[in-house]
């Protein structure tokens, strides 16, 4: 019970201090609008909202979670307030779970901004929203744990931003959202299959625009494995690098 009081208050503080700040909320709105407009202009005005939705959702999650967690944790470590958490009688796994939960929730909310916007333009009634929510959760979690991996690897806030882009930009082009994997050069294809976003994006494509290529169940399983492995790997690094 005592640990959960700590968990809830860490999550609440992070949401209030970082994620629910006006610049971040506006980011959540502006980012999907900007991507939609860009693709709208590119397609010469004949854009299909349904086919755009999986991509915009994925990118909203990816950009929101990875940078937010990496930056906030690096910021707290720089000003030493993160030590407050490490000296508290809270299990390290629960502590990291609390810190990442804020980013995961932020990712989920970001993902549904484009959905709400799309609702004004097209009907979205025949979509199985529960699996979509589960997929959005897993994409959010994997992206967050990537953010955690970045946070453990850097010591400055600007490094966190730069290092995030090192992962994010290749992922956008290799995950099959904008360039189908089968159209990628042969040497790049294996890279696509080691990216968690490839599986998350394919599930969304299967559920929303019905043009996914991989089995939904298998993709869910692979995404879950990515999630667990990234969490385990990040925790291992946290223990090694933050408590020296």
């Amino acid at each position: 019970m005592k640990s959960w009081i700590a968990f809830w208050n860490i999550l609440k503080k992070d949401m209030r201090t970082y994620y629910l700040k006006p610049p971040n909320i506006s980011w959540g709105i502006i980012f999907p609008v900007a991507w939609t407009l860009m693709l709208f202009v590119k397609s010469g005005g004949s854009v299909n909202i349904i086919s755009l939705l999986p991509g915009v959702m994925c990118l909203s999650i990816l950009f929101g979670t990875t940078s937010m967690l990496a930056v906030t944790i690096t910021f707290e470590r720089r000003n030493r307030s993160f030590e407050r958490l490490l000296i508290a009688p809270v299990d390290l796994n629960l502590l990291i779970f609390a810190k990442t939960s804020g980013a995961i929730l932020f990712g989920i909310v970001n993902a549904f901004f484009p959905v709400v916007m799309a609702l004004f333009l097209t009907p979205l009634f025949d979509i199985a929203w529960f699996p979509v929510l589960a997929d959005v959760f897993l994409i959010s979690a994997t992206s967050t744990f990537m953010g955690l991996f970045i946070a453990v690897s850097v010591s400055e806030v600007f490094e966190a931003q730069t290092f995030s882009n090192f992962f994010r930009f290749p992922m956008i082009f290799l995950c099959g959202l904008f360039i189908p994997i089968q159209d990628l050069p042969g040497f790049l294809k294996p890279l696509s299959y080691i990216l968690p976003l490839t599986y998350g994006a394919d599930i969304l494509k299967s559920l929303i625009s019905r043009d996914g290529h991989m089995g939904i169940a298998a993709s869910f399983l692979i995404l879950l494995v990515f999630c667990l492995v990234l969490f385990w790997f990040s925790m291992r690094n946290v223990k090694r690098k933050w408590i020296v």
Binding site: M1, I5, A6, K13, T17, E83, L85, I87, P89, I243
Partner: protein
Amino acid sequence: MNIVEVNDLVKRYDSFTAVDGVTFHLTEGEIFGLLGPNGAGKTTTINMLTGLARITSGSASVAGLTYPGGLKKAQRLIGIVPDESNLYEELDGFENLCFCAALYGISRKERETKARELLEQFNLTEAGERPFKAYSKGMKRKLTIAAGIIHDPRILFLDEPTTGIDVSSARQIRALIQELHRQGKTILLTTHYIEEAERLCQRIAFLVQGKIVRLGTLPDLMEEVQQGNVVQFTLSKATPDLAEKIFGAFPEIQTETINTNTIRFFSATPINIAPLTRFFDELGLSIFEAKRIHPSLEDVFVKVTKVVLNQMKQEKGGGKG
């Protein structure tokens, strides 16, 4: 009863040994001082005891809870005030205290009551709604101490609590430490201000280059520099041949000229100052002051550690007084 036990504690960072076989204990209710220059290993020792650094070798236990297995339980009994205030800049004073209490699983009602009490106790009630980033250094340090004790710990680790703050705030903090001591808290205080350690601590350890070079109560440590009897005279002026003249008149007394008008007399037996005053009178010298000199902890520290004191004092500003 020993509430903290540290045995042969070692901390290595690759080939650098920050703490080298440190052994000490804290008795329940005492203020124990770790005194040493920057880089002596004081903060690293505290970090190992609070869970911020891993122990390379040796053992540590708090209230019978042996590390590393008992660390999480021990953390409930420990309050920590780090050398730099590490509260959340974006939260106000009240929110910071409530958040720190929540980390120890304290219920909402209880933590809000406790936070208000502490803000009042630390004269921060008016500042309670101001963001932490708007606080002065002294206020920040006071709120950090309040955050360290909000869960009512049995043991408090204070890492350089008065470093870098103004004289008035430093005095207030020392008074707070004494008040916490009166409340029965066991306190481990690290400092490089010798006067602070002398004023606050029952027992003191000198830590230099990761090693404890001396440990004891203040009277124990003072024994190191007992020089028999020392009397200091401040005269109208001390002529260059004065020491020679004194030696001629009082061969059993050793002298040391401190400056142009101050001279010290050393003797194994008590010094009778009447013949000395007559002697100076005959030489036509006025005596402005005559006082007995007692050795200070500073004398002990310099003798034992060979650390250059001025250098140590200049390492970090503020705090004295």
